[in-house]
Symmetry: C2
């Protein structure tokens, strides 16, 4: 796919997802108005909308055509957003700005920052539950029930202590650790803090489309590779990237004595590992007969970015 | 029911629920060990286990005999616990002790306090999802599916912005408010901060037992009355209670210039309102033919406590 066409397609999809998210925002009214405003402020703060996009593309590749995917697309973005809101809190990273915009707690206060994050996580599940066809329409049980149940299980598992929260825990402890990190530790953090929600996105898409267990397992590996490659590329860019383009000072990891995959394995080996992981991820996608040209470009774009 | 027998029955049930909760605790291992320790420390900090108890008693009253109720009993206690963990944070109430025991953040640090609360809320849903019979056993769809779906919807709704979190928001804002609170505002806070999870407990029990919509609506009203009566009684005890027995200084609301139902309506009218609400709640229960002697005693005990 040509770069210009890819950019157009990417923009089209991002806009469509933004429109979808707006439909799922709770109304800013009642005695709960402030926390809802804080939630919506956080959700509408921009971002690449990567997770819902990966979910939708995977769903389509596997022949999914239903709107059952939509509540899950909104839900995963709410989960991603809540994690940023809580990460930014004074009790965590103490960040006042994100993407040039004031963080939730710095606008609404840190108590409301905690509450808005809680509200988003809880509302993510409320939103995903809308996918139950019988629940919504008063119908009886149909084939989508077990698919929705399995998708919900993925959504919660990959966001929790055996996914994103587990990775957060390991990351917090790694920052306080005085002994050298191991490769295993670094990969655990990347696998859970970053790859878990990418896995969640792609395997939920596949599950709702009725994929087989083998197909779901293959996509879980694909998403793992993408998540790890993305993070190693991040570490590489920290060493070689252009500081203006990257939006943060190059070499910041070295200055903070932060141990990364690159400090452990060097630039050359790290670059080869990014290529190996990416090649494997693409090979998985190419094993599917369904349309996946944009999805493939998106993965390559993520991993091979220069900023 | 005689007081001695009630106490024995209460103790028996509390112990059984503690044992049940222990079965649902995640193992304290791996790179996520610390956050899991903090979660389990919070969950095992004691308490009356009122919400799972109300859920189970309602389920039994309506003829429920399955263990499908158990993951929901664990889940609602996890949600209740996460709300306490986040409430105690320095960013919220800044409490170092609860029930004579150090709060989660004061043992594990406030970053870990945020993360442990998040972990509990997320794990509550993971736990409730275990009730999907087909998911767990690889079976196909059965009649429990729509019941579990409806119960999940209640669980999330009553914990979120249209329930507990909404009540939290109103409570935080009421504390900062300089103009007098209205009765409507006070009732909104009690209905959402307190009654919502009691409603969740009782209506989930009823839903999983296959109750009709009318039965569920009656129990939702019953639980609302109990929650409001409980809170008004709390305000009454603050004025007339014995400070040693209550465990906090009597008259603390007046000292803090806190507006309550009692400051707005006086002791006498407040007492009458507690009786009216309780009578209505008991009448609802007595409309059910199933065994509910202990459940009725439990509600009366909650509302008529003198400490």
């Amino acid at each position: 796919m040509e770069e210009t066409i890819f950019r157009q397609e990417l923009q089209k999809r991002t806009t469509a997802i933004e429109d979808l998210l707006k439909q799922y925002l709770p109304a800013e009214e009642g005695y709960q108005k402030t926390v809802i405003e804080a939630m919506n402020y956080s959700l509408m703060a921009g971002g690449k909308r990567l997770r819902p996009m990966l979910m939708q593309e995977t769903y389509r590749m596997l022949g999914g055509e239903d709107d059952i995917i939509e509540p899950f697309m909104a839900a995963i973005e709410m989960i991603h957003t809540y994690s940023l809101v809580h990460d930014d809190l004074p009790a965590m990273d103490n960040d006042e700005y994100r993407r040039g915009r004031k963080t939730t707690w710095s606008v609404y206060g840190d108590g409301m920052g905690v509450l808005a994050g809680d509200g988003l996580l809880n509302y993510a599940f409320e939103t995903a539950f809308r996918a139950f066809p019988a629940y919504a329409a008063g119908k009886t049980v149909d084939e989508n029930y077990p698919r929705v149940a399995a998708a919900l299980n993925i959504l919660a598992r990959k966001a929790g202590i055996y996914g994103m929260i587990g990775g957060q825990n390991a990351d917090i402890e790694a920052e306080e650790q005085t002994t050298p990190l191991t490769t295993e530790q670094i990969l655990f953090i990347h696998a859970n803090k970053t790859a878990a929600l990418i896995q969640s996105a792609m395997t939920i898409g596949a599950t709702l489309a009725g994929a087989t267990d083998e197909e779901i397992a293959a996509l879980e590996l694909c998403a793992y590779n993408v998540g790890i490659a993305f993070q190693i590329q991040d570490d590489i860019l920290d060493v070689i990237g252009d500081s203006r383009e990257l939006g943060k000072a190059t070499g910041s990891d070295a200055q903070n004595h932060k141990q990364t995959y690159v400090t452990l394995h060097g630039l050359e080996e790290s670059g080869r590992e990014v290529e190996r992981l990416t090649g494997e991820a693409v090979a998985v996608l190419d094993g599917f007969s369904g349309e996946h040209e944009f999805l493939k470009e998106l993965l390559l774009h993520l991993v091979h970015r220069t900023k």
